[in-house]
């Protein structure tokens, strides 16, 4: 297992429980959607997976090791293996840095050897941006292009897992579909955990999904199976709520 969560609980205080008894696992190479609405705890779950918060109880395992934000040797390895992509491509790129510096940051901070510029060029190419983007600033790009820059930063250090947090929700439909395609291409060679409220996007992108409601996993399994016969009432309601195109 790439990632394995066992009875993970999290609360900011005893009375404000955000996650209760969350368990699921992510196989190497899988693409898993974490689906939930506001208050489902999906963002907190992502912060736990990024090692930014510690579970109140329960364990998260990465391969054979327990995820421990205090273990700096482990965290260096973990940071290299796990990279995030965020929702808002405006807030996720430092407006005062050139694209080259933005994308090269993981290489520098993780002290990865080699000519960084070449790695950045490869990453830009992989996300479909021209090489001269390196010399420019984020504000010179559109929302979709900025999200490509953020994805380039996530893949530049060749991670094993991408954790995406509503990574296409802020984009226009015509842009969204292209970024979904980009994620789909990337997911062929790495593990993707895609957090989203948008079941349509998750259905198009992920083979498996985990449905969260009020901090609990209500259903998980193959995307195809859940869509075909949702078992939990919440999943059924969620599916029925999605507006469809007229025939």
């Amino acid at each position: 297992m790439m990632l394995d969560l066992q009875s993970v609980n999290f609360g900011y205080s005893r009375h404000r429980k955000v996650l209760s008894d969350v368990s699921f696992s992510v196989r190497s190479g899988a693409s898993v959607g974490l689906v939930g609405e506001s208050g489902s705890g999906k963002t907190t779950l992502l912060r736990l997976l990024l090692g930014l918060e510690r579970p109140t109880s329960g364990t998260i395992r990465f391969g054979d090791d327990a995820l421990d934000p205090g273990d700096s040797a482990f965290m260096r390895r973990y940071r290299r293996a796990v990279q995030p992509v965020f929702q808002d491509p405006y807030s996720s790129l430092d407006p005062r840095q050139k694209v080259l510096d933005i994308i090269a940051e993981p290489l520098q901070s993780l002290r990865i050897a080699g000519p960084h510029k070449d790695a950045v060029a490869q990453a830009l190419d992989a996300v479909g941006l021209p090489l001269d983007a390196m010399r420019r600033y984020p504000h010179e790009f559109s929302g979709g292009q900025r999200q490509r820059i953020a994805i380039a930063r996530a893949i530049v250090a060749r991670p094993q897992i991408i954790l995406a947090d509503e990574a296409v929700s802020a984009l226009d439909l015509s842009t969204r579909i292209r970024i979904v395609e980009l994620f789909k291409t990337l997911s062929a060679s790495l593990t993707l955990v895609f957090v989203s409220h948008d079941l349509g996007v998750v259905a198009a992108l992920c083979e498996e999904m985990v449905i969260l409601e009020k901090g609990q996993v209500v259903e998980s399994g193959k995307t195809h199976d859940i869509l075909a016969s949702p078992k939990h009432p919440y999943t059924q309601r969620l599916l029925a709520s999605i507006p469809r195109m007229p025939d």
């Binding site: 808002d88 940051e105 600033y137 504000h139």
Partner: protein, 283 residues
């Protein structure tokens, strides 16, 4: 998006005009201050003409009660003003930015305590604080005035830095930076400082102007640079008694003071956009 569409770019020329005038006024001051290190029209300490002479070709701004050349005194006053402004802002910036960044990272309780302390310090009148520090030191000196003003500035800078840094720390690029493996000090150097710098630098320029005025006030009250160092404040105070017979003595240092302060303010205004790659177009 719509909010962006509505914003109409302010004409860029206004900024560059403010910047040019500010640079000219401050630049003139710096040039004069540097010049006094090598040359002054007359010996600043000894009489070079009659007492209270009116402006003439020999003494462009006239002479003081002891017959010393006024222009020379004002030129040396420019040096004093720059030393005070630079020194006070340097002290204020170093202490203030450090404290502000620490407060931004502190736990809720510590942050609250720091914020309250800063508010109290800021509420305390700068001049009074400066007078206390000067009075507490053995003798009135330029350095105790600079230290006092620096401390007062540091409280203002710390509060501003804390607010600005907290805002930056909430951005996703900070989380992205952390998960890229960047350490907290790295995050501060790489992302926090560059993003708060434009607002801070404008504030530094404003504080510089205020420090110069505060030093003039201290000197006017006899708590600033002790005599051989000419200070505009002391020149004003000395000219007070003879303001009706020799008004130039009071007007000239006043003009110099106002020019430098306005220059710094214009520079602050103009600086806002310089070095900002987004030039106000970012969200």
């Amino acid at each position: 998006m719509s909010a962006q569409d509505l914003s109409i770019d302010r004409p860029a020329r206004k900024h560059s005009l403010a910047l040019s005038i500010g640079l000219a006024l401050v630049g003139l001051n710096v040039a004069v201050a540097l010049l006094t290190l090598f040359w002054t029209p007359y010996d600043p300490l000894n009489a070079s003409g009659g007492r209270l002479e009116a402006p003439s070709l020999l003494h462009w701004v006239g002479t003081d009660r002891l017959g010393r050349d006024y222009l020379t005194q004002i030129m040396i006053g420019a040096r004093t003003a720059l030393i005070v402004g630079t020194g006070a802002v340097a002290i204020g910036a170093t202490i203030g930015v450090t404290l502000g960044i620490l407060a931004a990272f502190a736990t809720r309780l510590l942050d609250d305590v720091m914020a309250a302390t800063l508010d109290i310090l800021i509420a305390f009148p700068t001049l009074l604080l400066a007078m206390l520090v000067v009075a507490a030191s053995d003798s009135a000196s330029l350095w105790s005035a600079i230290l006092a003003l620096g401390l007062a500035i540091s409280a203002i800078v710390a509060r501003l830095t804390r607010i600005l840094a907290k805002r930056v720390l909430r951005q996703d690029y900070i989380v992205a930076s952390r998960t890229s493996g960047t350490s907290w000090p790295g995050v501060v150097l790489r992302h926090v400082l560059p993003n708060i710098w434009p607002t801070l630098s404008v504030n530094f320029a404003l504080q510089f102007g205020l420090a110069v005025i505060a030093e003039a006030s201290l000197s006017y009250l006899g708590l600033g640079a002790p005599p051989p160092n000419a200070s505009w404040g002391r020149l004003l105070q000395e000219a007070q008694g003879t303001v009706y017979t020799a008004p130039v003595g009071a007007i000239a240092p006043g003009i110099a003071l106002v020019a430098l302060v306005i220059g710094m303010n214009l520079l602050a205004d103009g600086l806002r956009d310089v070095g900002d790659p987004t030039r106000g177009r970012s969200r």
